[in-house]
Amino acid sequence: MGLLCNFEFGTPRMDAIEAKNLRKSFGPVTAVDDVSITIPEGSIFGFLGPNGAGKTTTIRMMTGVLIPDAGTVQILGTDVNKDPLTAKLKLGVIPENGTVYSDLTAEQNILITAKFYGMDRASRESRTGEILARLGLMERRNDLVRTFSKGMRQRISVACAIVHSPPVLILDEPTVGLDVYSRRLVIETVRHMNREGSTILLTTHNIDEANALCSTISIINRGKIVATGSPEKLKKTFDTSRYVEVSFDRPVGHGLFSAPGITRAEPWGDKWRVYTDDPDRAVKHLASVAEREHLTIVSIATSNPTLEEAFVKLTAGA
């Protein structure tokens, strides 16, 4: 287990995951088309895209479950296809279409998974108890998974994936179809694992979740990565569609809004929408004309570009 916990200060940082030029076709369908991703240690990386974009296919190639047509994947410096056993020891995986054994109890599932990672009996047992408590499954630990709800099964799946405190945790759509409570526990666990030092890669088609959880996001569409960056940076890429919404105490005309930096203005209910690529400059202009014309500003607000806008633009036509 030594390799799992010696991230000493001063050692050069490696990339947790480095995928290069991954490619995979299923018959005529190119599911993943030349995808390269580098995920630095310690981050929570989100892989965002509509259904069928190629997220699961990419994840399956990264976790050694699917053999790529071309390209390589390294997990903390180990090639997944050349040395799968060593690479997989560093991974915890929650597959999209994968579940735990219904014929075993919650506890048996976690214990046998821990055996695959070579944990000794004492650490298997203490870690299993700790995780069962964290995931709210202590009372049900001796029940067969067969009797569990979807949310509880997914929590067991999470438990199995984190039992060996993996340096890299990969989750494919971990919260889809879960009840509110399970969903919260799963997200909390992801955050906790990241604080404890795990690098996280998760896929989702839920924009809010990616926004709330991830430090970096790649948007994938039709097998290709179309943008990568922090959620804030991705939003800013689409700043051209920002606007300032303003209303005055009496009606005004178009002329008020002709100024450099303002692309156009249109009436919007009892307000005006002033489109700009520089909200700061537009607001200052509006304040100064209001001063000059003795207008009172009743309300003023700037729109924040949303990740959703970025997403919709990037995946348009999907």
């Binding site: 995979k24 050694g64 056993l85 020891l89 579940t99 998974t113 695959f116």
Partner: protein, 248 residues
């Protein structure tokens, strides 16, 4: 590749298989009831020499038990969607194939040993060469467990399809083997047919180690079984690897 991690992955998969699949209905039906019924049908009520035919019965027992677990595991895991999770653990294809094979072989050896001990006590059977008998048990169980694993390899997530396929393959192998007619009495095409079934060589080994009336020399039987094992495991690996590429 770290040999310790590889060995561990095989052992844990074997343990998992033993805990989950030994008690599934199809294993009990095809592995235990089937050979028992076959035995009753062919041997009881006819005036057959039990000592002469016991090696054949023992071979059939080992054949059915060892090959009944393997066909179930992979299709079952694909249907239940536990397979995807299993291959993302620190295992490789070979760990799964060998782990499935060992689970089948251990099942076969355990059941057949019990049957042998009970019968030997009751019927006062001869035992010419205990060492050779033990080797036959090991080789036979591995060969037929490998057949079971091979039968599980075609893609399907429907275990009952595979159980049907495995009966279609296993029953003819029984009928063309030398278990019902002593090999020495065969001639011409009958002899060619029986030499196609791997069961023939196991039963001949049992003849050598129990009654001492084998037709082939033991080394030939052993060689045939080893070749059969390698061919079965190799084919299973090729098919399952292809499935990994296809993503199914």
């Amino acid at each position: 590749m770290d040999p310790n991690v590889f060995a561990r992955s095989i052992l844990v998969i074997t343990e998992k298989n033993m805990r989950i699949y030994y008690f599934k209905g199809p294993v009990v039906v095809f592995g235990l009831l089937f050979p028992l019924i076959m035995f009753l049908t062919f041997f009881i009520g006819r005036n057959l020499d039990i000592v002469l035919f016991f090696p054949g019965f023992l071979g059939m027992m080992l054949f059915f038990t060892a090959s009944s677990v393997g066909p179930l595991i992979t299709p079952w895991e694909k249907r239940e969607k536990t397979y995807e999770r299993l291959i993302s653990l620190p295992v490789i294809l070979e760990s799964i194939i060998i782990g499935d094979l060992l689970a089948g072989a251990i099942f076969g050896v355990a059941i057949t040993t019990i049957v042998f001990v009970v019968c030997a006590e009751l019927l006062h059977l001869p035992l010419m060469n205990a060492g050779l008998l033990a080797l036959s048990f090991v080789l036979g169980s591995i060969a037929f467990a490998a057949l079971g694993t091979l039968l599980a390899s075609p893609t399907t997530d429907n275990p009952s399809n595979i159980m049907m396929l495995s009966s279609l393959v296993r029953l003819p192998l029984i009928f063309v083997s030398g278990i019902f007619i002593p090999l020495g009495q065969l001639s011409g095409w009958e002899w060619i047919l029986t030499s196609l079934s791997p069961l023939t060589y196991l039963v001949d080994l049992f003849h050598a180690s129990l009654n001492g009336d084998a037709v082939y020399p033991p080394w030939l039987d052993i060689l045939a079984l080893v070749i059969v094992i390698l061919v079965f495991i190799g084919s299973a690996k090729v098919i399952q690897k292809r499935n990994l590429v296809k993503g199914i």
